[in-house]
């Protein structure tokens, strides 16, 4: 328990170091642009593929579980839309990104630590935590909501394609379903969750990488810890945010 609390304390002290006034705003801006590409743009493909197939599967499963004629067919489209907006595109996509982006951040920073690159920055008087981590946090917070919006759209398209081509429903029914009883606040809810999850993924992973001691083996372990801890925190905050935002 004491070890856990110590770690939590270290994490907040680390955040204090990270979230400080940038020494050279222009350099931080350039770094953020680079991170937008390396952490954001490179994730578009994987998020799009997974979202498309998840949308398809959600549609098919909903269709096969609502074969009773009492249920109107358009509910399948509605089910696909709400599943994507409320849970998949924010939470499940965040869990996927925790694996891809989180391990990337932890291993990159961890390798810099064990090869003394971070020490080299500190010697120069650079706030290494802020220089390395703040652009990553900003980039994920800015880009992940866009990924979420894209995921929603691609998932719904996937659902429409799968539903239509498998013959479980007509395209008209699906389109009617995705427009039926639409609550715009769900999008806001989803984006708010995404921002929290993006912060968790980037900050927790960076924390794990920044304090690595040892060699490549420890970098690997830090990378694994980054994914596990980020995932658990995402699930925990999913419950808290859902209760807070939807109650």
């Amino acid at each position: 328990m004491i070890k856990f609390l110590t770690q939590v304390g270290h994490y907040f002290l680390f955040l204090k170091k990270v979230i400080s006034k940038p020494e050279k705003p222009k350099i931080y801006y350039n770094q953020t642009m680079k991170e937008l590409v390396s952490l954001g743009l490179t994730s578009v493909g994987i998020v799009a593929i997974i979202s498309f197939f998840m949308g398809a599967v959600i549609t098919l499963q909903t269709a096969y579980n609502t074969e009773n004629p009492i249920y109107p067919k358009y509910l399948i489209g509605l089910g696909c839309r709400d599943s994507m907006i409320l849970e998949f595109s924010s939470t499940i996509a965040a869990l996927i990104l925790a694996g891809k982006v989180g391990s990337n951040i932890a291993s990159e920073i961890g390798t810099m630590r064990v090869t003394e690159q971070i020490d080299a920055m500190e010697i120069m008087g650079v706030n290494s935590a802020s220089y390395l981590v703040l652009p990553k946090i900003v980039a994920t917070i800015l880009f992940n909501p866009l990924l979420t919006l894209m995921s929603i759209v691609v998932g719904i398209v996937g659902g429409g394609v799968a539903g239509t081509f498998s013959g479980v429903m007509t395209l008209e029914n699906f389109i009617y379903g995705i427009q039926y009883a639409f609550i715009p606040y769900y999008i806001v809810y989803s984006l708010i969750k995404t921002v929290f999850f993006a912060f968790i993924i980037s900050s927790v992973s960076a924390f794990q990488g920044y304090y690595v001691e040892g060699g490549s083996l420890e970098v690997g372990r830090a990378s694994t810890k980054a994914v596990v801890y980020s995932s658990v925190l995402i699930l925990l905050f999913n419950v808290i945010l859902t209760q807070t935002l939807l109650s």
Binding site: T115, E122, M124, G125
Partner: protein
């Protein structure tokens, strides 16, 4: 000048440096020598502030460095350059970007002036036509040279080198040593080199401090080192069989 007084440092209750006091002189290549695990690197990292010390004082000229806060330390740190054992070049940056990094962070020069300075530093360490290469494309000796170029980019007053010859062949090691000595004299820097390479000791050891089991055992220069009566130092200096034979023959 850098002065260390009564420095003590321990890790998890184990004392690694015990009451070390030493003065490193300006314009000289000061060497910290000792066996692996003797505490050399801990001493160097304590001096530059990468490790918090338990007790003692570290003075840079008239400034008590170890009592400064992060902001004030930055002023002194902008006058430091450091060459790490593994070079510590930034993997994601090219040679030019690596050398330009401290200029980008701390100088108000224009891009043209920065590039001019980068080229000057790279030429000074005999690295030509490699500006666009990445560290992974360089040999060990070239990495050390680029790291030296980065260390001198801001005209530092203090240069720290942690085992600059590790992993290099003897000829390249001598060239790196010579370069460090030349730069020290040229820019009148206070240079501290951590090493266990006796070739370096005999080539550039203007002031030598011998550390054994966390304590300072001996202090002198390369002319005194062969005539010392410090037994741990003699065991270190005359470690190989040829050196032992020469010593026996001489005595």
């Amino acid at each position: 000048m850098i002065r260390v007084s009564n420095l003590t440092k321990s890790f998890n209750g184990k004392t690694v440096l015990n009451d070390v006091s030493v003065t490193f002189e300006t314009g000289k290549t000061n060497l910290i020598i000792g066996r692996s695990g003797s505490g050399k690197t801990v001493l160097l990292k304590s001096i530059v502030g990468l490790l918090e010390i338990d007790m003692g004082e570290i003075w840079f000229e008239d400034v008590l460095f170890n009592k400064l806060d992060f902001k004030d330390k930055k002023v002194i740190r902008s006058e430091m350059g450091m060459l790490f054992q593994g070079s510590a070049l930034f993997d994601s940056l090219t040679v030019e970007q690596n050398v330009k990094f401290p200029l980008d962070m701390f100088s108000a020069q224009t891009q043209e002036e920065k590039v001019e300075r980068v080229n000057f530093c790279l030429n000074r360490v005999d690295i030509n036509n490699s500006n666009k290469l990445y560290p992974s494309e360089l040999s060990g000796g070239m990495k050390k040279r680029v790291a030296i170029a980065r260390a001198i980019a801001l005209n530092p007053k203090y240069l720290f080198c942690d085992e600059p010859n590790s992993g290099l062949d003897p000829l390249t090691a001598i060239l790196i040593d010579a370069l460090i000595k030349e730069l020290t004299e040229e820019y009148s820097m206070t240079t501290i080199v951590n090493t266990h390479d006796m070739n370096s000791v005999m080539e550039i050891g203007e002031k030598i401090v011998f550390i054994s089991q966390g304590t300072k055992c001996w202090e002198g220069d390369k002319n005194d080192i062969l005539n010392s009566d410090c037994e741990p130092l003699n065991d270190f200096v005359f470690a190989n069989s040829l050196a032992k034979k020469l010593r026996t023959a001489r005595t």
